[in-house]
Symmetry: C2
Subunit: 134 residues, 2 copies
Amino acid sequence: MSTRPTLTGILESALYVSDLERSRRFYEDLFGFQVVASGDRLVALAVKPGQVLLLFRKKASAQLEHTAHDGDGQLHVAFAVPANALTAWEALLTERDIAILERRTWELGGQSLYFRDPDGHLLELATPGVWTNY
Amino acid sequence: MSTRPTLTGILESALYVSDLERSRRFYEDLFGFQVVASGDRLVALAVKPGQVLLLFRKKASAQLEHTAHDGDGQLHVAFAVPANALTAWEALLTERDIAILERRTWELGGQSLYFRDPDGHLLELATPGVWTNY
């Protein structure tokens, strides 16, 4: 095959939630993500330029003609934070009564905090050093 | 509340797959993502510095003590590509016999192609102009 065409990153990551309004509030209030689109079926949150977190109402996209999708279960998303911000994040989670489920220190020096969103999706805040060169 | 601590982006997005080896091959072969970790439970693929796509074997993470997670259904991930690369991506998908389910042109000028991975997860290749400032 010839040279592979360019791909610049993951633009959209998706979670499927049971109450869109509750989830929108959670992600807006905790992380400060800005709503860039919202409707009956989804809320799109800008995480940073070029990265959007999509919250889909469960079952609402299952009937799309060609592009049906839907998810169930407790999915996983990790957010990158600077090493010197982890203590402040931990304080903020505590202030919001969000239980920290686990703290992990990785072989490469990265540290992770795990907690859950209102649907039980497993969220992680991770400092550099979870993955090589990341 | 005081100033919100810094968050620099989505580090990990996750899909849950029925056959880890099949999915690893699909994402490696089609996109050229590099495997940065692999085991019985997951394969981690580097999409770009600071962005990892995690493929989890279905049900394999459901028994973790504090950080259980698992997903079902046909989830959604969108990858960003430059506008001038979309034709080449379309040709590559055709060459690989991957059916393009839908083409969409968005209000802001972005274009999307939709197709599926081996588990039926809904993948999208999107050029700039799907979201404002994205």
